[in-house]
């Protein structure tokens, strides 16, 4: 990737990385939070444009960066949700400043961190080097930790600290796994960057030492699995979602969990390509299923609206891990689709929840009732989001869950029964809570909010369209990726 032969694709990749960094630098200096929020939205949108154009103009595989079938879908999704969330963030932050929950002086920091997070996620997705990917995931952890603690309350600091310690332990384990993968590649690919490059590793995978790969994968799934929020390593997730600013809950659930799972998927491909290595599936199935069962029961005990949906994120990441663990084209296809649907739906729900908590002045479920009466648009938006996330037709989540369950019944009926039971349990919990929140007589305080409805409904419409009709090129593209995933 020398400058002399730089094509359009290389420039776009560069834009995806350089743009957020440059914007972060600018935002750190812009004193007005209003202008800062606008620049934030604008920069995210430009990154989204670059990501979309990148689909058509893929660059050559570079030494440290690459664009392939797998990561391009994640890149588009990440930049899309980052853009809509920045729009939501602008109205959310304005309200928080108005009621004095946030100080204006933190805003430069907040916006700069938002862009830095986008940079870290793009880098983790684009990296053609497992070491570089690790550094990027670490950077993403650091920026989100800082943002989770933004409110400076005792609870927020505690949540940030807990996230920090558990996340650090997780990425430490992931690094050990990364070193082991390098060690496995050393005899085949020799010293230097080649032995850490994806494009080389995946080609050499059948010849790598299987025992080392097995061990590496255990460390990697424990390490990156902590970041995915898979049970029993999920302890940081509900706190971080509940105590941080809501835009951060949306990007955590919608994007960062996906990025960590993407890392796991890359290594899973490596193991699948090696016939002598253990099958990575059972481990992922076990952790996924445990997460689904655990989270669905935990949903009943929640009393905080953001924690409720944080546990729902654990449930859905469990479903995705289960699907990829099952493997095969159908399950992988469904897993990819479910990841995208969950990102869009869950961030839409957090957009609604953020404004609901502002309107009601509380996150306690008991103090929120009759939203469809007092705030019809917000209330119905939330209802629609919950209908989608619970997996009711015609929304997209229904389709992906249906595919996963079908694939599971064909391959492992016993596991499928457990999965379906857990899904129904979770379904019941969500609707029981939703009923109290959305319907009935409005109670408690109720302030008008200047909400931004566009991001929320944009996501929900996308989810609806995906549930009714998936364009053929998209299906074909997902199928290619699903086949590559093994």
């Amino acid at each position: 990737m020398t400058p002399a032969v730089m094509g359009a694709g290389d420039l776009l990749v560069l834009a995806l990385l350089a743009l957020p960094v440059a914007t972060a630098g600018i935002l750190a200096l812009v004193p007005s939070h209003r202008i800062g929020a606008r620049i934030n939205v604008g920069a995210c949108f430009l990154a989204l444009v670059a990501a979309v154009v990148l689909v058509a103009h893929r660059p050559e595989i570079g030494r440290y960066l690459l664009v392939d079938d797998l990561n391009i879908s994640f890149i588009v999704l990440t930049n899309l949700v980052a853009t809509t969330t920045s729009g939501f963030s602008a109205s959310y932050i304005a309200h928080e400043l108005e009621i004095g929950r946030l100080q204006p002086r933190y805003m430069r920091f907040y916006h700069a961190m938002y862009q830095l997070l986008l940079f870290a996620m793009n880098l983790a997705l684009l990296a053609n080097n497992i070491g570089l990917m690790w550094v990027a995931v670490e950077l993403a952890t650091l920026t989100t930790v800082l943002m989770v603690g933004l409110y400076r309350t005792h609870e927020a600091l505690e949540a940030a600290w807990k996230y920090f310690i558990l996340g650090s332990v997780g990425i430490a384990l992931a690094l050990y796994g990364t070193i082991l993968v390098f060690q496995a590649a050393l005899p085949e690919l020799g010293q230097g960057p080649r032995a850490m490059a994806w494009s080389e590793l995946i080609l050499a995978a059948p010849k790598l030492d299987p025992a080392l790969l097995n061990l590496a994968f255990i460390f990697l799934i424990l390490g990156y699995g902590t970041k995915v929020g898979l049970a029993p390593l999920h302890a940081w997730l509900p706190d971080a979602h509940a105590e941080g600013p809501t835009p951060i809950s949306a990007v955590l659930s919608g994007l960062l969990l996906n990025v960590a799972l993407f890392a796991v998927l890359r290594f899973k491909m490596l193991l699948s390509a090696n016939a002598a290595a253990m099958a990575p599936g059972p481990l992922m199935i076990a952790m996924g299923l445990l997460s689904v069962v655990f989270a669905s029961f935990m949903l009943y005990r929640r009393n905080d609206i953001k924690r409720l949906f944080a546990y729902s994120s654990i449930e859905h990441m469990g479903i995705v891990a289960f699907a990829f663990g099952l493997g095969g084209t159908v399950a992988n296809f469904a897993g990819l689709l479910h990841m995208a649907m969950h990102s869009l739906t869950k961030s839409a729900i957090f957009f609604a929840v953020g404004h609901v908590a502002q309107a009601k002045g509380t996150q306690k479920i008991h103090d929120i009732a009759g939203l469809t009466e007092s705030h019809p648009i917000l209330g119905w938006g939330l209802v629609l989001g919950v209908v989608a996330i619970a997996g009711l037709p015609p929304m997209g989540v229904f389709m992906s869950e249906f595919l996963i369950v079908t694939a599971a019944f064909a391959r492992a009926p016993v596991l499928a029964v457990i999965l379906v039971a857990a899904l129904l349990v979770g379904f019941g919990a969500l609707f029981w809570r939703l009923h109290a929140i959305a319907f009935g007589q409005p109670t408690g305080k109720s302030a008008p909010v200047e909400a931004s409805y566009i991001p929320m409904f944009a996501h929900l419409i996308l989810v609806l369209i995906a549930g009714v009709y998936l364009p053929a090129p998209l299906v074909r593209w997902f199928q290619t990726v699903a086949q590559a995933l093994g």
Binding site: F164, S168, V169, N303
Partner: protein, 221 residues
Amino acid sequence: MARGFAFDLAHLLSGGMVLMSFMLLYQDRLTSLLRIYALHALLLALAVAWQAHAQGAPHLYITAVIALAFKAIAIPVALHRIVRRLGIHRELETVVGIGPTMLFGMGLVALSIAVMLPVTSQADPLAREDLAFALSVVLLGLLVMITRRNAVGQVVGFMAMENGLVLAATGAKGMPLVVEISVAFSILIAFIVIGIFLFRIRERFDTVDLQALDRFRGERR
């Protein structure tokens, strides 16, 4: 001969780190815990420098200097000051008694050797033993984190764990990005230490007992 000596010295230094990790396990005073950690980091700096020399990889000297200046000197000094300024209890509360902890630690070392040596049978012997020792240091660091109730004690456990990772990364011959990774880790640690100081975190937040946290939040009815 040179080969044999290179091997022995690398062995001695990484073995010394395992020993220091064990010493971390039974310290019951914060100041002595920090002193042992400084020694731990000093041994890491020596081990990395020796690897740099033995592998003929001069860029690893950067990692060694970072380990020496940052981990062996700056961080312990900063943590000593934090302990004094915040008036943190000098006595360390441990979750489990010292006896069982030490036994468990020995089990972890045995486990890492039993796991690592068979799978790396094709690797270079120097890297091979280094990886086994490094895994012991990582697991012992994790054990230190689990058995301490105090934020500073936990951070020391994390840093010991991270030293094990740097040892593993430098032991893997010709691994790229080692320097970058060690820098990234140093930034992480600096943030943790600043975090403790700024937010006056004295006690460990219990990460295992979710119920206690939920009660604290009024999550339970």
